[in-house]
Structures are given as structure tokens and as C-alpha cells.
């Protein structure tokens, strides 16, 4: 969806830029002469039927001001234009690609991983810990202001101590997050009654 919006935004920008450049070119050409001569700005206004357009638009605006179906249609069209603009903005401003979690950057090169693979790797490591019945991981990549976080939620049987399970999970994740730009946050909860043990 974001990709489609991005493509649409680029097409619209291209079309608008071409139109703007053509208008600029026309104004430049029609500024060669002055007065009422053919290659003058008043001449350009005549060419594009601006006086007639002024009359039509004036009539139209008068009808829009008055209550009636035209006013409602215009309001809906205006709202639609605002929405289209917002969607195009989204296409322009939305992040280009999934943010990478950078593990380290040195003279020999950089190591980075996408969020989903990193989360899957963390889930696999956490699920192997003694006492863990289920593991779910979400990765928040580091931003401009705050650091990244690895949120780990694990379930354990009721006969296990949550704090001990958390410490074991921390230990299991340590090699994965070592020197990574994410800090692990582990939360262990007792498995819900009735939940199946796999």
C-alpha cells in the first residue's frame, strides 16, 4: 500500500513539475512584449480565455456560497482533495524501507539485520531456554532520539519462578544482542490455565 502511494506521489509530482515548467515558459515568452501586443501578458490572458473564465468562476463561486446541492458536492470534493493530499503526503514521507538494526560498525564493515529476522532469531533462542513454553519478540529499531529495544515476552509453567526464567532468557539472548543497538527487555508470565503445552 505504501509502495503504491509512493509511486502515485512521484507521478503526481512529475506531472505538476512539468505543468509548472510549461506555465513558467509561457509566462516568459509572453513577457517579451508589453501593452496589448500579442506576446504580452494581457495577450496571454486573452489566449487562455481568462476573462471568460473569470465570469464563469464568479458565477460558480456565487452558486457555491448559496445553500443547495452544488455546495454539498463542492464540500465533498474539497474533503476528497484534502484526503488525496494527505495520502500523497504519506507516500512521500513514509519510510522507504524497513529500518535496520545495526549491530556494529567498524573498519572491517558493518553488521545489520532486519527487524523480523532479528525477532525470529531472538524468539528461537528464547524458546530454547529451560522453563519457557512460548516466546514472542518485538523489535523496536533505534531512532534518532531513543535507543532500540528488544521486547521479549515469554510464558512459563506455574512451577517456575518468573525472575529466574527472565534471567535465563537474558543469558540466552546475550550473544545475539551483544554490541547491537537494541537493549533486551524480558517479561516472563505464567502460562494461562488451559493453554496447551507444545
Amino acid at each position: 500500500m505504501t509502495l503504491l502511494l509512493r509511486v502515485l506521489a512521484r507521478i503526481v509530482v512529475l506531472v505538476l513539475l512539468v505543468a509548472l515548467s510549461l506555465v513558467g515558459l509561457a509566462v516568459a515568452v509572453f513577457s517579451i512584449q508589453g501593452g496589448d501586443r500579442p506576446l504580452s501578458l494581457p495577450g496571454l490572458a486573452e489566449q487562455v480565455l481568462l476573462p471568460e473564465a473569470e465570469d464563469d468562476v464568479g458565477d460558480y463561486l456565487g452558486r457555491v456560497e448559496a445553500p443547495g446541492p452544488l455546495a454539498k458536492r463542492s464540500a465533498l470534493a474539497g474533503a476528497g482533495a484534502v484526503l488525496a493530499g494527505a495520502l500523497l503526503l504519506l507516500g512521500v514521507l513514509a519510510p522507504r524501507r524497513e529500518r535496520l538494526v545495526v549491530f556494529g560498525k567498524g573498519t572491517r564493515g558493518r553488521l545489520a539485520a532486519r527487524r523480523r529476522p532479528l525477532a525470529r532469531a531472538a524468539e528461537a533462542l528464547a524458546a530454547q531456554v529451560r522453563g519457557v513454553t512460548e516466546a514472542k519478540v518485538r523489535v523496536r529499531p533505534p531512532g534518532r532520539v531513543r535507543g532500540g529495544q528488544l521486547r521479549v515476552r515469554v510464558s512459563h509453567p506455574r512451577n517456575q519462578q518468573g525472575r529466574e526464567v527472565e534471567q535465563r532468557v537474558h543469558g540466552a539472548l546475550a550473544p545475539l544482542v551483544e554490541s547491537a543497538a537494541v537493549k533486551p527487555r524480558v517479561e516472563a508470565r505464567p502460562r494461562k490455565r488451559g493453554a496447551r503445552v507444545e
Binding site: 549491530f103 564493515g109 558493518r110 532486519r114 532469531a121 528461537a124 550473544p175
Partner: protein, 127 residues
């Protein structure tokens, strides 16, 4: 997830010698795939992460010429659920060793490793 491309096409016997850039890319890709824990290289969703030279296409590796005449290598890999930092170090060591064996150590500046996907044990059937 895109289906990772596992093979690099061998050059045709009658083709001209590949460039230094392609040689480095090929060495890096072969060295990385030999590291335990690495499953395959990934060319990306649109297949853009490819080093191409005439008949040969090397998916999952990019070798970029730098201003100082050297090359930067980027590897896009699918790996097992292992600690990633030591894995990247092993990959770099193998790539550097392979480049040195081929006489290209001076041309290789750095190796970036990007983990595109991780295959968990239940998917590989190992455990």
C-alpha cells in the same frame, strides 16, 4: 520472504576475464556461503541485490568501487538462528582470507553483512 537464490552461474569458458569487482563479489559470496550458519544469499524482493557481469549473475552480493580505488562488499544473507555478531566476524574472516588468496587483499576495503532472514530450527528440521 523471497526464495533465496543459491547458485552463482559459472562464467563461460570463452568469455573475457571478469573484472576485479566481479571477482571480489564471487569470492565473497562463495566464502560466505561456506560459513556454518549461513544458508544462502538473498537478492532482495525485486532481485536488485545482484552483481552482474555479462553472463554471470551473483545474487545477494554487491561490490562497489570506492573513490580510493578499493571495493566495498555487501552481503545479504539468510542464516540460521545463531548469534549474529560472531557469525558476521567469521564471514568477514573467510572473505578476507579468500581475497588474500586471490591476491585481492589490497582491493578489499570492508565487508558489510546484512541479515535478510533467519531460519528457525523448526523450519530447518534440525532439532
Amino acid at each position: 520472504m523471497t526464495a533465496p537464490l543459491t547458485g552463482s552461474q559459472p562464467p563461460r569458458p570463452d568469455s573475457a576475464a571478469p573484472s576485479e569487482r566481479v571477482l571480489l563479489a564471487r569470492l565473497a559470496l562463495d566464502a560466505a556461503r561456506d560459513v556454518p550458519g549461513v544458508i544462502s544469499a538473498d537478492a532482495g524482493r525485486f532481485g536488485t541485490r545482484v552483481t552482474a557481469d555479462r553472463e554471470e549473475r551473483l545474487p545477494g552480493v554487491l561490490a562497489t568501487a570506492l573513490a580510493d580505488g578499493g571495493y566495498a562488499v555487501e552481503l545479504y544473507l539468510v542464516c540460521e538462528a545463531v548469534p549474529l555478531h560472531p557469525l558476521a566476524e567469521r564471514i568477514r574472516e573467510r572473505v578476507e582470507r579468500a581475497a588474500a588468496s586471490a591476491g585481492l587483499a589490497a582491493a578489499l576495503r570492508y565487508v558489510d553483512v546484512a541479515i535478510e532472514d533467519v531460519v528457525t530450527p523448526d523450519e530447518t528440521g534440525i532439532r
